[in-house]
């Protein structure tokens, strides 16, 4: 158990980049106090980013029989921030074969997150 109760976040809502301070002395999820925001977006961002930070992830996987060596892929939704590197690692050895259609599922339910990895473009077979 950490003694830390004040956490710093940089708001991404606009270029002003307010420095948010989140105090969770009163509890981890309920009752966090956000200060330093300039607008409501910042307050909501501070709460979300503290309770459950999530990210989209995009990478590319090997493809055989196409013009390019790689085809771009993405997560169909956000995954917990702490899993982003693991998700990238989970797809790094995948190899698929052209032709590929946009939306083709390359890996379903990656790491049990409920999120799929799908191709983000068509790629014809050469």
């Amino acid at each position: 158990m950490s003694d830390q109760h004040i956490y710093e976040y940089l708001c991404i809502g606009c270029p002003l980049g307010c420095h948010l301070l989140v105090d969770d002395t009163e509890g981890d999820t309920e009752g966090v106090k956000v200060t330093g925001w300039g607008c409501k977006t910042g307050k909501a961002y501070g709460e979300q980013e503290h309770k459950d930070p999530r990210r989209n992830m995009a990478t590319s996987v090997r493809v055989k029989g196409a013009r390019w060596g790689r085809v771009p892929v993405k997560t169909t939704g956000t995954v917990p921030k702490k899993l982003v590197r693991d998700v990238a690692r989970a797809v790094q050895d995948i190899e698929i074969e052209a032709p590929i259609k946009l939306g083709t599922v390359v890996l379903a339910n990656v790491l049990g997150t409920g999120v799929d990895i799908v191709a983000t473009r068509d790629m014809e077979r050469l």
Partner: protein, 421 residues
């Protein structure tokens, strides 16, 4: 990839568009919408779509398509519209000359050298990256110094890594995106060095590409020396003062095998310079009217050719207008000529278009010189609008209604961004 290679190249088209990136594709749709029948979209790459194919990250399309897409998804949507619209797409083809009478010289592996006459032309060649030579970094000239966009193509399309230990110079969005991308591919990104006292990219990218992966961002710091005989072996970095002069007493060395540059884009206007256009010395692109027409009759320009954009959504919007105007020109329609010149004043770098007409509404794109909070943008004394903030890296977009412009009776309208109070 989906293609629409013309079976037979015609000798005359209503509208010919040079460059099939997001600007060219939107222009083609605009021309089609306004009644141009034969439209030819040309690209030097093997597939249309432009740089979007390699921008595999999220963050595109929120404005233009109303949903968040990756770059390839955005490109494919645009290309599908182009194909459904019956536009001829000629790839692997270089436009290497244009005359004031709008005859274009093309060169391609399949077509050889061809002349094509155009009722209207749209210049949509985009931009290219600034390189080491543009900022004159001292030191040796080993391999391993490359631009962020090139590294992006290597990693995302070709499956090649540019190096193992990378230093990034410049904090533009592509550099930040690539810092994350390389980290996820197992490359060690040692730091991002930015000569300005603030990051050049979006906060979102500073947080999600650097902070998330503990990559340090060194502000007011630059590379002063690159070392290595065959391959880069290291760089020397130093903090700079307000005049950007490096303080060598506080310099330090970083061992690395790669230097990646994210130091800005230059509008690609070699083709535009073949005809006698007038250029804006600030944007370095052609001066354009409110219909995106250059100073050559029937030759239009849009996207990064005209000025560097931060969002592809704005490129699409601006280029749709250019294409509509080209379509109207080709079918013999002429809107009233512009009667007001916009003059950048206090804290305004440039305005595009450079002229407007008081008979209709306009979208005016502009950049500021320095960050300012709680400010007002003023168009002479006819119109003002409060802005919570402005930043040089973020384009300012203003919708200007005709009723305000009709109150103005001069020919040069000054635009200022000033602090409130």
């Amino acid at each position: 990839m989906i293609t629409a290679e013309p079976r037979h190249l015609e000798s005359r088209y209503d509208v010919v568009i040079a460059g099939a990136g997001p600007a060219g594709m939107a222009a083609a749709m605009g021309a089609r919408e306004r009644g141009a029948e034969k439209i030819l979209l040309i690209d030097r790459e093997r597939e249309a779509g432009g740089i979007l194919w390699q921008c595999i990250h999220h963050g595109f399309g929120l404005i233009h398509f109303g949903t968040e897409l990756t770059g390839p998804e955005y490109a494919q949507r645009c290309l599908q519209q182009v194909i459904d619209g019956g536009i001829d797409v000629l790839t692997d083809t270089y436009v290497y000359d244009i005359s004031p009478e709008r005859t274009l010289k093309l060169m391609s592996g399949t077509q050889g050298i061809k002349l094509v006459d155009a009722g209207a032309v749209v210049l949509a060649m985009g931009a290219r990256e600034r390189t080491r030579g543009a900022i004159r970094i001292g030191g040796e000239r080993p391999s391993g110094v490359l631009t962020a966009g090139l590294a992006q193509k290597f990693v995302n399309m070709m499956g090649l890594l540019p190096g193992r230990r990378v230093v990034i110079l410049g904090s533009g969005d592509i550099g930040l995106i690539m810092a994350r991308r390389l980290t996820l591919e197992g490359v060690e990104v040692l730091g991002v060095f930015e000569i300005m006292p603030h990051a050049n990219g979006l906060n979102r990218n500073v947080v999600q590409c650097l902070h998330d992966f503990d990559i340090p961002l060194h502000l007011s710091t630059t590379i002063v020396d690159i070392r290595g005989r065959e391959r880069v072996t290291g760089v020397t970095v130093a903090p700079v003062d307000e005049a950007f002069k490096p303080d060598m007493s506080r310099a330090w060395d970083v061992d690395c095998d790669t230097v990646m540059l994210s130091i800005g884009l230059i509008p690609e206007n070699e083709l535009s310079r073949r005809i006698n256009l007038r250029f804006d010395p600030v944007t370095t692109g052609p001066i354009v009217s409110s219909t995106m027409e250059t100073t050559a009759n029937g030759v239009f320009a849009c996207g990064n050719v005209a000025h560097i954009h931060d969002l592809v959504d704005f490129v699409s919007r601006e280029s749709l207008l250019a294409g509509r105007s080209a379509g109207e020109f080709a079918t013999g329609k002429r809107p009233p000529a512009d009667n007001i010149r916009l003059m950048p004043g206090d804290n305004v770098t440039y305005c595009v278009p450079q002229t407007v007409s008081s008979d209709r509404e306009h979208t005016i794109y502009m950049r500021v010189k320095k960050p300012m909070e709680e400010c007002t943008i003023k168009f002479g004394d006819i119109y003002s609008k409060k802005l919570p903030y402005v930043f040089p890296a973020e384009m300012v977009t203003i919708k200007m209604q005709a009723k305000f412009l009709q109150k103005f009776h001069g020919d040069t309208l000054r635009v200022d961004v000033v602090k409130r109070g």
